[in-house]
């Protein structure tokens, strides 16, 4: 039963999404209701599956004896799946209003829903082959979403995206093969599956492969220098940028990295090796690089994209600490950053949708016209800065705790980088709020009089996100404890 349920959760949205584009619907509301229904159904299914998962692997089919597509729910899977399943319905709701005056909406939503299924597939994948397959599929399914505007730059962006992601996957492939060969099993086992006697003889080779694999997967996690696609992909409609390029896709990359690091290669095997040092360096560079680019960027969405880049590297920082605490911190930030960033993206999206303004210097005084939106934006900005009482601080705290505890020479540098990026975050987020709320004495508010806050379909998700943020920020203990149990091995 459970097996079928799992498979259904992944396959159902992919199948049920097709009618959205194929059927000729009489009215828009019909297919909107249908889409939302499918998404809600999938979320319900996945939560049900999480609620009573038996922890068994369920094989869908086999490529070969040792190559099988199998689904399994464990702690990590449930974190990611729960997160995604919570966000998707809200994002879809938001998307309805955002896309309201764009073309080819049915096609867009078809792929949007399909992506849900594929993402869940990544979450539930029980072995590395499955994960790899869904990872590749994710690329192809999200491609049309980026291409959707069909403008020149959208095409260019999608080409870049494709090149980066598939190229990264090509290197991830190497790691997969190695795990298939050197691992005792291809399934994910906390603590790693390395076949120790076979490994010991050729440790360095394995480390090289690990680093290559890490780079491969880190393309989706937008690690420097492989993150170039992320800002470019900002041309996509905001629901895509917000949900996919702040949560689903990029977090899938981080998720994959957690899998290979902690569940395949094994953190104990990697801790203290040169590989860890190398990766730490890259991650720290990314943390600072992303923020400073965000500071220079004047296009709102691209600015947020760069900030995503650096925030993802917070997660990777936790990952490469190679300790349970580190993984806890990483998971923590994975969850919290999802809410903070999707919230800020939605605010920006609301601005773009209501006013067609895309650049920082255009939003002067809008705070008086769209108070709700910009208040929420400010809150999410404060959260990203890591003001205590909001989730950003919690994840920073856990990451820093892990870093200091790991006593790795570079870890302190990492903590410092976190704070530097927090400072830069403050500047590039707060400067937006300032422009919006304090345009200066000589600014006449009639210029923005025409603009309003968006409709309920946009505001409801935003409100929910804010509430969630405060709840997590003020009382994160249960969640963090759960994550800690997940992260143990």
């Amino acid at each position: 039963m459970n097996g079928i349920l799992l498979v259904m959760t992944v396959v159902l949205p992919i199948i049920l999404a097709v009618p959205v584009a194929l059927i000729r619907w009489k009215q828009d509301t019909h297919w909107m209701i249908y889409t939302e229904g499918v998404v809600l159904l999938t979320s319900a299914l996945s939560y049900y599956a999480l609620a009573n998962s038996d922890g068994q692997a369920h094989v869908l089919f086999r490529f070969a004896n040792d190559l099988e597509i199998a689904f399994r729910i464990d702690g990590l899977a449930s974190v990611f799946a729960a997160l995604v399943s919570f966000l998707w319905p809200l994002a879809t709701l938001y998307a309805f209003e955002y896309m309201s005056h764009l073309k080819h909406r049915e096609i867009f939503f078809m792929f949007y829903v399909m992506t849900f299924g594929v993402t869940l597939g990544i979450a539930f994948s029980g072995n590395i082959l499955t994960m790899y397959c869904f990872y590749e599929m994710l690329t192809m399914v999200t491609l049309p979403l980026i291409m959707h505007p069909l403008s020149k730059e959208a095409i260019r962006a999608s080409r870049t995206y494709l090149l980066y992601s598939l190229g990264g996957a090509a290197f991830a492939f190497i790691g997969m093969i190695f795990i298939l060969y050197y691992g005792t099993t291809s399934a994910f086992v906390p603590g790693g599956v390395m076949n120790t006697p076979a490994v010991m003889s050729r440790q360095n080779l394995l480390l090289i492969v690990y680093v290559l694999t890490f780079f491969g997967f880190s393309v989706k996690a937008a690690m420097w220098p492989f993150g170039g696609w992320l800002p470019k992909a900002g041309v996509a409609p905001t629901p895509v940028t917000a949900l996919l390029h702040a949560v689903a896709v990029v977090k899938a990359g981080a998720f994959a990295l957690m899998r290979i690091t902690y569940y395949s290669f094994g953190a104990d095997f990697l801790r203290g090796t040169w590989a860890q040092t190398v990766l730490l360096v890259f991650v720290i560079i990314t943390i600072v690089y992303g923020c400073s680019r965000a500071l220079k960027e004047t296009h709102l969405k691209r600015r947020l994209a760069y900030s995503t880049m650096s925030n993802l590297s917070y997660i990777l920082f936790g990952v490469v600490l190679m300790t349970p605490l580190g993984l806890t911190g990483a998971l923590c930030h994975m969850v919290f950053h999802a809410f903070m960033k999707i919230c800020s993206f939605f605010c920006v999206g609301a601005v773009m949708h209501q006013t067609n303004k895309n650049y920082v210097h255009e939003i002067n005084g809008l705070g008086h016209a769209m108070p709700v939106t910009f208040t929420i934006f400010t809150i999410s900005g404060l959260a990203l800065m890591g003001v205590p009482g909001l989730p950003g601080f919690i994840s920073k705290w856990n990451l820093a705790k892990a870093a200091v505890a790991s006593e790795h020479p570079l870890a302190l540098a990492g903590v410092f980088a976190l704070l530097v990026s927090a400072l830069l975050t403050a500047i590039y987020m707060m400067s937006i709020s300032f422009r919006a709320f304090c345009p200066g004495r000589d600014f006449d508010l009639t210029a923005v009089a025409g603009y309003r806050d968006p409709g309920w379909r946009m505001l409801v998700p935003l409100g929910i996100f804010v509430v969630v943020m405060f709840v997590f920020g003020l009382h994160s203990a249960p969640l963090v404890e759960w994550l800690a149990t997940v992260a143990e091995w």
């Binding site: 404060l382 800065m385 003001v387 205590p388 009482g389 601080f393 919690i394 705290w397 856990n398 820093a400 705790k401 870093a403 200091v404 505890a405 302190l412 903590v415 410092f416 704070l419 530097v420 927090a422 400072l423 403050a426 500047i427 707060m430 400067s431 300032f434 304090c438 345009p439 200066g440 004495r441 920020g473 003020l474 009382h475 994160s476 203990a477 963090v480 404890e481």
Partner: protein
């Protein structure tokens, strides 16, 4: 009498594990709460009258009240986390006060203020992250909470971290090198705001430093290390530099701001000596400087909104028009310089004595010398206003002043100033009670 040790803390809520938000009262917190409350009431009265001249008084008072609550939270916080929480919130809310009139330079100054404060706060946070691992817990205790067994081998790192924390919290206290926000934030803020800024907000930096050094790390750990030396030299440098800049600064509020920079570093110097009497002096100076500088800024407010003067040389002959007011100003000036028997003298005397019998070698005599020099400079940049105010000399009063009719400022503005002036002088004449309190506190820490 004031309880020394912290009572059983009141636990509000838990952000995450290891992140308790809890409050408790101990001597230090009561001391700071006291001064905060006094200042807040007086400035509140003053502001009622003052804000008639500004727009959006509602917003101002909202932020003002909120800030008071947060400051109380800061004073009462029972562990570093709570303190940091209030510290950040304080920054954000006081930002609202600074930005209050939305002029371009106000916004710029606010961003600068935000940037500096966050720099400081994050340096502090860095330290907190680090200490969290090497401390038993982050609750405030008498002799430090370091977990020496865990610390073994990381002392040097810890020292670096502590130094960073000192600089970080020193930012709010306007200590070199991160003092740059004061002179730009004060002039743009409404005068009540700048009054509380330099009377209380900067003191929160001092409070944070005390908490870190004396409650968490413990004075003994730092005594004689390079950190102490570096700290002392930074403070002395700030003392001198601050008064020097103030001396060369024509704009009134900027001049007072620079003077704040130097005066607060008196306090930090006292703390950096890690010596009982110096500590007493520092605590005293917290009180006295709060009252005096608050008063000065209130005066500045009068200068600005009543006389419409921004620069010093526009004030000639002001004493002819509003003698009582200028008399109060003179009291403040004398107190800040430290002319006996005013309050400033008492605290500086304690500081000097503490410096002299602290065994910090070179600094034990160099410190007092610098204090003296800066006192002279203080005289140099405060007194001329009073003198030219009363005795404009053959050049008759400046044109702005000339336009004024002979009239004191409105009562609501005058009364707080007078009260503060009297307090500033009297507390110098009868300092015993306060000194005892501070002595006990010092004895409790050292």
């Amino acid at each position: 009498m004031i309880p020394m040790t912290a009572m059983a803390p009141f636990h509000l809520l838990t952000l995450g594990e290891g992140l308790e938000i809890s409050f408790a009262t101990d001597g230090i917190s009561l001391l700071f709460m006291g001064i905060t409350t006094v200042i807040w009431i007086l400035v509140g009265i003053y502001a009622v009258a003052y804000m008639k001249h500004e727009e959006r008084p509602g917003q101002f008072f909202a932020a003002y009240a909120l800030l008071y609550v947060i400051l109380l939270g800061l004073d009462l916080s029972a562990n570093l986390i709570t303190m940091y929480l209030c510290y950040e919130l304080m920054t954000l809310v006081s930002m609202l006060l600074v930005v209050h009139n939305h002029s371009r330079e106000a916004i710029m100054a606010t961003l600068k203020y935000l940037f500096y404060s966050l720099c400081g706060a994050y340096l502090g946070l860095f330290g907190i992250f680090y200490l969290n691992h090497y401390c038993v817990d982050l609750n405030f205790g008498s002799t430090g909470r370091l977990d020496l067994s865990a610390l073994a081998g990381h002392e040097q790192t810890l020292l670096i971290v502590v130094f960073l924390m000192l600089i970080g919290f020193g930012t709010k206290a306007g200590m070199f090198p991160l003092h740059g926000w004061l002179p730009s934030a004060h002039p743009v803020a409404p005068s009540p705001a700048s009054a509380v800024l330099s009377a209380i907000i900067v003191k929160s930096g001092v409070l944070a430093t005390i908490r870190t050094v004396y409650n968490i790390i413990g004075a003994d750990f730092l005594r004689g290390t390079w950190v102490q030396t570096a700290w002392m030299s930074l403070t002395l440098l700030t003392v001198f530099m601050g008064s020097m800049l103030a001396y060369r600064e024509p704009v009134i509020k900027k001049r007072f701001a620079y003077s704040t920079v130097s005066q607060v570093s008196y306090i930090l110097f006292g703390l950096s000596l890690l010596q009982e009497q110096a500590f007493t002096g520092a605590l005293l100076h917290v009180w006295f400087h709060a009252m005096i500088k608050c008063g000065l800024f209130l005066c500045a407010g009068v200068f600005v909104v009543i006389c419409g003067c921004k620069r010093v040389d526009e004030l000639h002959g002001i004493g002819r028009k509003m003698p009582v007011f200028l008399a109060c100003y003179t009291c403040f000036a004398l107190a800040l310089i430290g002319i006996p028997p005013t309050s400033g003298f008492v605290s500086k005397w304690q500081l000097a004595l503490g410096a002299l019998d602290a065994d910090v070698g070179f600094f034990s005599w160099f410190g007092p010398v610098v204090l003296l020099v800066s006192a002279l400079l203080t005289a140099g940049y405060l007194l001329p206003i009073a003198m030219r105010g009363f005795f404009p000399g053959e050049v008759s009063c400046s044109e702005q002043v000339g336009l004024l009719e002979k009239k004191e400022p409105p009562l609501l503005m005058l009364i707080p100033i007078v009260i503060l002036a009297i307090a500033a002088v009297m507390s110098g004449i009868f300092p015993t009670g306060l000194i005892n309190v501070c002595r006990n506190l010092a004895a409790y820490f050292l």
